[in-house]
């Protein structure tokens, strides 16, 4: 399942972010390279939630970091407002030019405690963004903005002013991170496993909060997770990744109800509560996960795929459109 190809990219004025042929590689040891992300392309519409799902090592978190250029990708383009005259390619920026654009893309991370500076008070943490851009004094307007955002996420501003992160619970810390991101008025919020470290009883609250904030502040979301149920719940469109490549892209409900790629089918069948669209037989996979420093030739999934044929080893599958908003990179997709 190599996911080369760009046919899944949409055009039109609604596209707010476009990622083209993203590659991220890390040198390891002397001659080896980790191929974390290898030629991935997708886009995001205004007001859309794009879910990126995959198991560990698939490159989803690396992709998220590459979007915000931390670190910048090895190659590829990350373009804001691609169909307009103000289009900006983040990969072409550096220094102050890059800094100026930063507030437009904000991030929420997996570990709620580690996302906040343990030695600072919560209110200061949330005010940080405004402080950076107002050279020190955020003014009354700034302070009101901070209070407003704290209210919106359900944190008492008075408590925030006098307490530090370790005095809040995991769910509350995650809300504080969301508040911090919202103060600078971002257009895109990238959520990297935002509820994976939280208790089940708290997850729903944070997911609902993200929906509410999305509506209230006009956001577009990129939501990364390994949890299939959560991804379906929050996403409009879903991207499935494996070992640095794209497997399948499409409308969320569509993808879950008619998964075409054998890896997607395996994921859905392996979930503790399997999807209705797949059967037990789809879950059969080899246990040996290949190394990202030496990925298989052709389709990277072929070593574990129950359907692999000779062609899969010699020819990397291209993204092809199945119908409507449903794309798959496989020689033998299930249609």
């Amino acid at each position: 399942m190599a996911g080369r190809g760009t046919v899944q990219l949409r055009g039109g004025k609604d596209v707010i972010l476009r990622v083209e042929n993203l590659v991220q590689e890390f040198p390891v040891g002397r001659n080896r390279v980790v191929h974390a992300v290898s030629d991935v392309s997708f886009d995001l519409l205004k007001g859309e939630t794009l879910g990126i799902v995959g198991e560990s090592g698939c490159g989803k978190s690396t992709t998220a970091r590459a979007l915000v250029q931390l670190p910048p990708p090895t190659s590829g383009r990350v373009v804001l407002d691609p169909e307009s005259e103000d289009e900006i390619d983040l990969t072409a920026l550096s220094g102050n030019d890059l800094r100026d654009v930063r507030p437009r893309l904000q991030m929420i991370f997996q570990d709620p405690i580690s996302s906040l500076n343990p030695r600072r008070r919560v209110k200061d943490i949330v005010s940080e963004g405004l402080e950076i851009w107002s050279d020190g004094d955020i003014g009354t307007e700034g302070r009101e903005r901070v209070d407003e955002v704290l209210h919106a996420v359900g944190i008492d501003p008075a408590a925030a002013a006098s307490h530090r992160p370790h005095q809040f619970s995991g769910g509350q810390c995650q809300r504080i991170s969301i508040a911090r991101a919202l103060t600078v008025n971002p257009e895109i919020l990238i959520c990297d496993e935002p509820v994976s470290a939280l208790d089940v009883s708290v997850q729903a609250k944070i997911l609902n909060l993200l929906e509410d904030m999305k509506a209230r502040y006009d956001l577009s979301l990129v939501f990364i997770s390994h949890d299939l149920s959560v991804v379906r719940n929050v996403s409009d469109r879903v991207v499935v990744m494996y070992l640095g490549k794209l497997c399948e892209v499409g409308d969320a409900d569509r993808l879950y109800e008619a998964p075409a790629h054998p890896y997607t089918r395996a994921l859905l069948a392996s979930a503790p509560e399997p999807a209705q669209s797949v059967g037990v037989g789809d879950a059969v996979l080899g246990d040996e996960i290949p190394s990202p420093t030496d990925p298989p030739s052709g389709c990277r999934f072929r070593t574990r795929c129950p359907l692999a044929i000779e062609k899969c080893a010699t020819e990397e599958p291209q993204m092809q459109q199945l119908d409507g908003d449903h794309f798959v990179a496989c020689h033998l997709p299930r249609v």
């Binding site: 800094r99 100026d100 996302s115 809040f168 991170s177």
Partner: protein, 286 residues
């Protein structure tokens, strides 16, 4: 708001902290106030006719006198002033220089990091004693020179700790978040990293003071400490001859005891504070 927040605040510094702290307050207080305290002149000779010094501890001389009938108590206080000064000054200098180098190296990486790490390596490999002899021979034997010497030797361990701590914090998501908000390196260094790095560094600094005082003592024993004035090391050296030690042990053991209590207190406080901050920061369990 979590009820647990109240519970975390309730933990106070216990006896294990205040006991050594009281000693430090005492010793530092006496050292600072020495000029205005009614102490005897440390250079004066208090010879009693008919008796040969050193005189054992008495109401007149709380710590006795040395072989030249000089009052040990005031000499120890005088020595405290110098030893503590050398300890704190050298640590302050090495922390400013080493800390800055280490932190910047840990944050920006690249050529600066390679250069700084190389410097640390060289300094660590260079025998401190030889460096001391070199400095003393080339410059002089003043408090400042001794302090600078010990500071230079301290730069490497401090720098490496600063670098390692900075590296581990720089990986944390809150630093990445700061970058996405648009923070520059300087802001990240001072606002995000410094408040975190300062804590393990402070614990090390306290231990460093103890180490510096001890090192000065060692230098004094070799006759390399300051020329004028007293330090604990010089006092101990004075009382360390085999005859004096056997017949009048108080000459050496007065300063030894005071030095030991001071070093032990510093070490204890350092350990205690480190544990105390550790628990506070990480919360407890959940």
């Amino acid at each position: 708001m979590d009820e647990s927040s109240g519970a975390v605040k309730a933990r106070r510094l216990g006896l294990g902290f205040w006991l050594p702290m009281s000693w430090m307050i005492l010793i530092v207080g006496v050292a600072l106030l020495a000029p205005v305290l009614p102490l005897k002149d440390p250079t004066d000779y208090f010879i009693r006719p008919g008796e040969r010094p050193p005189y054992p501890p008495s109401a007149d001389h709380w710590f006795g006198t040395d072989q030249d009938a000089r009052d040990m108590f005031s000499r120890i206080v005088s020595g405290a002033r110098v030893s503590l000064a050398v300890g704190f000054m050298s640590v302050t200098m090495s922390f400013i220089v080493g800390g800055a180098l280490g932190m910047v190296a840990g944050l920006v990486r690249g050529w600066f990091d390679r250069l700084a790490s190389f410097l640390f390596l060289v300094l660590l490999s260079f025998p401190g004693l030889v460096l001391a002899i070199l400095f003393i021979a080339l410059i002089d034997r003043s408090i400042l020179t001794i302090s600078v010497t010990l500071a230079v030797v301290g730069i490497a361990p401090v720098g490496r700790l600063a670098r390692a701590t900075t590296l581990s914090f720089a990986e944390r998501e809150f630093v990445i978040a700061a970058r996405t908000l648009g923070a520059r390196n300087s802001r990240i260094l001072f606002r995000e990293l410094l408040p975190n790095v300062v804590i393990p560094m402070a614990a090390l600094a306290l231990l460093g003071v103890a180490a510096a005082i001890l090192a000065e003592g060692g230098l004094a024993f070799l006759g390399l400490s300051i020329e004028k004035g007293e330090t604990w090391g010089k006092l101990i050296r004075n009382g360390a001859g085999s005859r004096v030690l056997r017949d009048s042990p108080w000459v050496a053991f007065g300063p030894i005891t005071v030095m030991f209590l001071t070093l032990a207190s510093i070490n204890y406080i350092g350990d205690y504070l480190r544990d105390f901050f550790n628990v506070r920061e990480t919360g407890l369990g959940r």
